[in-house]
Symmetry: C2
Subunit: 577 residues, 2 copies
């Protein structure tokens, strides 16, 4: 493949594009890899399409290596299967829906679990057909409320989605492990530095759901690591260790007047000023904060829920939603309708609403909390004696320095990442919904169990750009670069012809070559563009061409060496490894 | 690539599938290449996806060879650009439209002229950027009223669409000629026997619009050829030769009572019975039939149009629509509202409606036609004397045996084809709509002119299947076959292991191999499936394996030869050429 800059559809931008907030978005626009075509929809320009195709080829290769079979479903699908799975309504505004000319309902599929399941139901009949691993690389649609970061979160995007169908949990675990390894190999080839994090709490089954996060400052996902063990989890999955048992029930509950203390800070200040309970060392962590939320459960009435957590913690709505899923929560604000909930002075004792507590609010612990009367609080309010929560809930914000739930000795650090992959043991949700049964070895029907394995393909391109750039531009890993070598013709004394001749030689040797053969721009502009486009190695055909020399540049190390033009094929082959 | 039937997602069908009317649809379903997923939407199964990818690779290769640059646009696009081009309304029910969560209008693009034009406006600025040839291979959507024939006419389908941008008509003609040749090479590689037909009448510019039709009994397009020259055209483009001038004005018009002759047949019978004008040799060709239609022009009021044509011809609504485009026509039926139009007795003389005539109704010709009174007709009604049409119109059905408009000596034959490609010189419709101007060589602005070049990729797969099958199944041309060789293990004495070993050897030699290693089906079933799947050559590993022999079968010729297993790689390499 010989690409010529003189004819390539390319216009590099010197200025930072407006509305592009993250480096990958800015650089992919500036270097002419993508253009915005719609809100959350991007056009791939020739250089971008080449990178996308390289990424796609790597994923196809790695899926094939573990026995994945490629299929391709339509994106425009009728409503019926999504009614069976309840996702037509569950997704709400997040999916694009439409009607055809006959008034029948359709959707643009956000994912294809229903179709994969129906296909397997159609195409299989007995245990001999299993296990089965199917994948597709296909355009997906999601009506994102806030498309963001260019390719990072779009409304039309490319996904590699795969589903495994197994007849036993052991078989599912085996294919899950193979896919996990295939994902690690895939991301290594894509040059993506990543962390595998638990996506569900240990309580729900440990490794059954894991996310691959490309570490990046601009990532939307916060995840935690441990200072002393290998634990990594997204914040939704972090389990709060239950503190060692203490018995504080020796002291009786006392109610005190605490006027004008609707906040934790004002309460702590008053408690210390007045030496409540004889103490002057009160901190926010000694107080019990009670947060009122409204829980929205699909197909059910809204419900008021009070969450108790130490006063030095905020409620993390993402963790709360994860804990309540499929229900969601919003902050409660109609206190006028609930005079029993005394805003700023709520305590769990005698409360008439559903009450769940942070794991740190363990039986035996004593708290300074509201007395359910305006201007009054209580001390020595002991969990298990003065109140008993219905259960615990993981809703408190995770903070750097929190103890590690895995090893117990280390503490948590916070990092950010871009979710590039997600694998999980989905189980029988969809095979149950569609009643998929096949003949088992013993002659009895058996219901397949599924694994789900996704990679955001277009997002991966952005993640690569996030991890591989510098102040001068992009810097693609070799295996995904739009070309193997970038030849710059710097001069007007036959340099262009020589550059094209050298380029063709390299193409004939099996390389992919981009030649800057433009005659209407300066060498300086060409060098700047080459650095912006970000191919790892370049050859400058310049002044010393007359002596038979060109310059070989390594974009990563910055090294520049004059090399005999006849030696270039060997030098490049060596540098490509 | 080694595909194993024991694990392949494949279920061949013995019975003819219901609702599949055409051979390609039946066979692609039966052989397990596709499955229906939605009305007009199909899932590609692993074997089908392999064929589709082969077709795609050939098209990408041939487009690259003529300098085409690949891009990829979103399918989900905002309304605005399609408002500028008026296509949002012009397309009517034929496009899928929807609204996003904010209530903004979107469409699923049926084609991308607007986006290509806007992209070129964005990315270019001067004559140095031209000519430019861009293409994409992308999913398209059209809300077909009648999806048909499986992949032949779907609502979601894969297209290769390309657009050229040139700064002069000569440059456009040059790239058009290159693309025409690239299309011929592409279809040759796809194994598609095709005819290039004129898609517009010669009067409008000859070669500026041509369709590539894969000849097929099941094709939706009727086209004509000539018995003695190379003329080929779709019926919409056929030009009716004007007959040699005759002067019939010597006889005066006479009106006769012709009771109960509302049809041409009854009129001819009466005219001969009564020897009208002294003749008893009246035929339908002597009568002038006047057909009333309603013309619907976008953005204008409906209009009544009367079309005059020889009584032995019917109006062809497809030709009529092509002649009226962008307006369309339907048969007029509200005669009660137009007492001046006397149904069954209309004549062009003194008519108060717009009147267009077939070219055979030439000045000087005399006709037997209605007298605009119930039960009366007139003879010797001479064109140019008794009536003067506003113009001519190509709306009459073309019939086999009609004179060839190109050579004049041959006559037309009728054939059917599947439209697999369409190229045409689009001109400045879209660059005008978006006011695209670039700097010309002379420093003045110049507006690019466009060429449009489309290939139905998924439809091409169906067309290949139509042209390449027999009563036993599919029979793929080598370059698009899902594998190079199909190895059948026929026996249980080590044949499966030997087949897999041979398969791996061939894979290592660079071939794509499908091995039937199933142990739960008979050799007969395997042979039947192999013929249904349609790979050109197969190797049967059977009884003579013990002696070191296998059988080599050529699916096309039916030849079968015992060959030493060690000799198979050479035999296959030879047969692949």
């Amino acid at each position: 493949m010989l690409l010529r800059m003189s004819t390539l559809l390319l216009k590099t931008l010197r200025e930072e594009p407006a509305d592009a907030e993250v480096p990958s978005h800015r650089l992919l626009l500036r270097a002419g890899f993508i253009r915005r075509a719609a809100p959350g929809g991007y056009t791939w320009l020739p250089l971008g399409k080449l990178v996308l195709d390289r990424v796609t080829a790597i994923l196809r290769d790695e899926m094939g290596a573990v026995g994945g079979q490629e299929v391709a479903f339509p994106a425009l699908l009728p409503r019926e299967p999504y009614d069976v799975s309840h996702r037509w309504t569950d997704y709400g505004d997040d999916i694009f829906t439409l009607q055809d000319r006959r008034g029948n309902d359709y959707l643009l599929a956000p994912t294809h679990e229903e179709m994969f399941t129906l296909l397997v139901q159609d195409m299989t009949s007995s245990y001999r057909d299993f296990p089965l691993l199917l994948f597709q690389i296909q355009t997906k649609y999601r009506d994102e409320a806030r498309p963001r970061g260019g390719l990072l979160r779009g409304r039309e995007f490319l996904m590699k989605d795969a589903y495994s169908f197994s007849l036993s949990s052991d078989d599912l675990a085996a294919v899950y492990a193979e896919m996990r390894a295939a994902y690690q190999r895939s991301f290594a080839r894509l040059g993506l530095d990543h962390t595998i994090v638990s996506a569900v709490s240990g309580a729900m089954g440990g490794s059954a759901s894991e996310e691959f996060l490309a570490t990046s400052e601009v990532g939307e996902d916060t995840f935690v690591g441990c200072t002393s063990c290998s634990y990594a989890a997204n914040t939704e999955a972090v389990v709060t260790p239950t503190p060692p048992f203490v018995d504080a029930s020796i002291s009786l509950m006392e109610v005190h007047d605490t006027p004008e203390t609707p906040t934790i800070a004002s309460l702590v200040e008053l408690a210390n000023d007045r030496a409540l309970g004889g103490r002057t060392d009160w901190t926010a962590a000694d107080t019990l904060k009670n947060v009122v939320v409204t829980v929205h459960t699909p197909g059910a009435d809204d419900e008021v829920l009070v969450i108790g957590l130490p006063g030095d913690r905020e409620v993390d709505l993402k963790r709360l939603d994860a804990a309540l899923a499929p229900a969601t929560a919003t902050m409660f604000d109609d206190f006028a309708a609930r005079p029993d909930l005394v805003k700023g002075y709520i305590g769990p004792q005698g409360l008439k609403a559903r009450y769940l507590a942070d794991p740190r609010v363990a039986p035996g612990t004593a708290w300074l909390t509201g007395a359910n009367e305006p201007g009054r609080h209580a001390i020595n309010v002991v969990a298990g004696r003065d109140f008993t929560p219905e259960g615990t809930i993981e809703a408190a914000l995770v903070l750097a320095g929190d103890p590690c739930p895995a090893c117990g000795s280390g503490s948590l650090t916070m990092r950010r990442g871009i979710e590039i992959g997600h694998i999980f043991q989905l189980g029988r949700r969809y095979t149950d919904a569609f009643k998929v049964d096949v003949l088992g070895v013993d002659g009895k029907p058996v219901r397949p169990t599924m694994g789900s394995y996704g990679i955001g393909v277009s997002r991966a391109v952005a993640a690569i750009a996030e991890q591989h750039h510098d102040e001068r531009g992009l810097l693609w890993p070799d295996e995904v670069a739009p070309a193997d070598v970038h030849i710059v013709a710097a001069g007007k004394d036959g340099q262009v012809a020589a550059a094209l001749k050298l380029g063709q030689e390299l193409v004939d040797a099996g390389l992919r070559v981009l030649v800057d053969d433009r005659t209407n721009v300066s060498a300086g502009v060409k060098f700047t563009d080459a650095e912006l486009i970000g191919i790892g190695r370049s050859v400058v055909v310049g002044r010393r061409l007359a002596e038979g020399f060109v310059e070989f540049r390594d974009r990563r190390t910055g090294e520049r060496n004059d090399v005999a033009v006849t030696d270039i094929p060997r030098v490049i082959a060596t540098s490509l490894g």
